[in-house]
Symmetry: C2
Subunit: 409 residues, 2 copies
């Protein structure tokens, strides 16, 4: 039994029209009108495929397909939301491959032993509302729903997760976590270059990197760029540049065991002829090894403290995210490996560099992920691309892994 690749690719293209940006990109921010439109389409397709659709108070959508047994469902899915100027595969692939899996079972009139559950998690990307992986975070009982619903939009303090869920009609009634799953599988693009560079079909995801996000604000003094002698300056930008350079070199020395990124920076007052009195920047640190992750954060914090104090300035530090690394159970990764082998595809056991709903769901039930290659590793970008053949392979591995777990008799 194989999935219908033509149908899956056409469906991916259909969703890519919702929030289409440029020729290939998609911008479908969580809880936006575009998110609503994609959710409405998914809901109608779930119903058409015979699923019983539940929406929880977090806006997570769960479509249940009955099994022969009254057991916990084997779940799979991902998310429909994208980053700003994102691509057409990140998230939506896992949801639509899951839908395709169900349609394939319908085509073949197969009833699995255990029930199945197709999930679309709310706000995985977290670009407008913090934190990211919000829906799975709450579903797995790792965050307080009432708190999360109050989370304001970055760009509009008058909008909250709760008010936006109401506005798009996806503030459901079910308590998050109310349906207990047997397992969770998530098909996703790699979002990195490894599989393509090594010409491997499938990534069997063993673990997800831990992620620490911290915001630093170096505080100096604003002064006129032409009249303030150098020895009198408290240039927050110059001090921040030293920190940026240290942080950039840090991960280059660690040869892949730790990743450090400064993705955002802002000077104040941000004028060409004024020495900046403030330089805010964000730090993203990741590692699959919690010890190395903590050590990196500590060493960077020490360097920042020493450097800023050495320059006679001060700084503020705000911890935004602290996610520990997650290791998926062998029984789950082996099930993906077995499915991949049965399809005569090549595979590599590998970590995930990005955060995913599966790392949250790992706290709820045995979970794992299936990666397919991303062309040039480009993601979170309108140029994100994966070849048709890889999409098809990924969906077939998902199908085999899921029916291997759920049983067909």
């Amino acid at each position: 039994m194989k999935i219908n690749a033509q149908r899956l690719l056409e469906n991916l293209d259909r969703y890519a029209q919702i929030g289409k940006m440029g020729e290939t990109g998609v911008e479908r921010i969580a809880l936006s009108k575009e998110d609503q439109q994609a959710r409405d389409l998914l809901k109608s397709q779930m119903i058409e495929a015979g699923l019983d659709v539940h929406v929880d108070r977090m806006g997570n959508m769960i479509g249940i397909r009955k099994g022969k047994q009254d057991d916990k469902p084997v779940a799979f899915g991902s998310h429909l939301d994208t980053v700003y100027a994102g691509g057409r595969f990140d998230g939506v692939l896992g949801v639509l491959a899951g839908l395709e899996l169900i349609q394939t079972l319908n085509d073949n009139q197969i009833e699995t032993d255990k029930p199945l559950a197709l999930i679309n998690f709310t706000n995985e990307e977290g670009v407008r509302f913090a934190p990211d992986m919000m829906g799975s975070h709450v579903y797995a009982g790792m965050a307080d729903l009432a708190e999360i619903l109050k989370s304001p939009a970055y760009d509009n303090a008058n909008e909250s997760v709760g008010s936006c869920l109401e506005a798009i009609g996806y503030a459901g009634e079910m308590d998050p976590g109310a349906i207990q799953f047997d397992a969770y599988y998530e098909l996703h693009i790699e979002q990195g270059p490894v599989l393509e560079l090594e010409q491997i079909d499938i990534g069997v995801v063993e673990q997800v990197q831990g992620i620490y996000w911290t915001r630093y604000t170096v505080k100096g003094e604003a002064n006129h760029a032409g009249t303030t002698p150098v020895y009198y300056r408290k240039d927050a930008g110059f001090t921040a540049a030293k920190l940026q350079q240290y942080i950039g070199e840090y991960c280059r020395k660690k040869e892949g065991s730790v990743l450090t990124t400064i993705g955002s920076i802002k000077f104040s007052p941000d004028a060409i002829n004024i020495v900046p009195d403030s330089a805010m920047f964000t730090l993203d640190v990741r590692s699959t090894n919690e010890t190395l992750l903590k050590k990196a954060q500590l060493e960077i914090d020490e360097f920042i403290t020493e450097t800023v104090e050495g320059d006679g300035l001060s700084f503020e530090r705000e911890e935004m995210v602290r996610f520990s690394p997650v290791r998926f159970p062998l029984v789950m990764t082996d099930s993906v490996q077995t499915a991949t082998k049965s399809l005569r595809l090549t595979y590599k056991r590998m970590p995930s560099g990005a955060g995913h709903d599966a790392q949250m769901m790992a706290h709820h039930c045995p979970s794992t992920m299936i990666f397919i290659p991303s062309v040039r590793g480009i993601s979170h970008n309108i140029a994100e691309y994966s070849h048709d053949r890889d999409v098809e392979n990924g969906a077939n591995v998902l199908l085999q892994a899921v029916i291997g777990r759920s049983g067909i008799s």
Copy 2:
């Protein structure tokens, strides 16, 4: 003969209410409603003081006081506009001390030999429309009026200098430069810490630093912060940090002969979990020595080219401003020195670190400037402050220098 310090200080306080920000700050952006309000007040005060008011096509305001001789007027003034979140002295001091000078002559019923001219130049700060020192630039014939009038607002491409001059009612009919001046004096706060640190009353300004402004955009590739191995990154932010650090260290090594400042930086896409594909930053280089100024710009450009290419990235470079250093004539600086000595005040012959209208007017007629101390050197900041006594001293030096030049018989 002395100016009326009480009247001058009260008038300064009156203008400080127009665009007042916080307790001590002022935000009166060129060609804004606040600028219009300040101009209207000045116009009425000029008329009340008996001046014949002219407005040129650049919006420069010139109030003429007749002399005994039909000669070229001795001019003085500065500008009423401020930077964003600016102070209550920068610019407006020179204009209001000039008005006070005229009121003092009126009080004493003195007619000078040469006529006098009080000037308010348009858009000295250049924070919303480029270039800065706009009004004097055009008045001195150093820029093309038609081009300048088309200059768009940084924050709104639909607004131009020309349309905003019309909107506030200061698009005059006189051709800029039509009135030829005998000389130009400008009283200004130092905007740096030198006079205060050295406990000196008056700065006799011999020269103005040359200013080079350049905008650089380092171009890399946007990638996911968690999935892109370090060897695969083209991190525009990391490369920019090396450039920032080099530029910051450059002026620290030059021990005051060259100043370099990075006041503005912007990453794109500017997201915590995306390696930036673009890092734009501005460079401000200043020196009183043109050879050192050119050498600094060249060395920095060479370092940028080598570093960016060495990292496998590319960059764009936009020259925004290239002002050569200006040396004021001895006859002018000596006239200020003589006036200062006659008042038994201490003085220091010094350069100006900031750009001023006087450096443009130096191309039109013999010019110079008079500095008074700035508390802690703070300027372009709502905390900008100068003591009452220094304001009074500066205005008296201006008076003595001007009547020395214009003659009273």
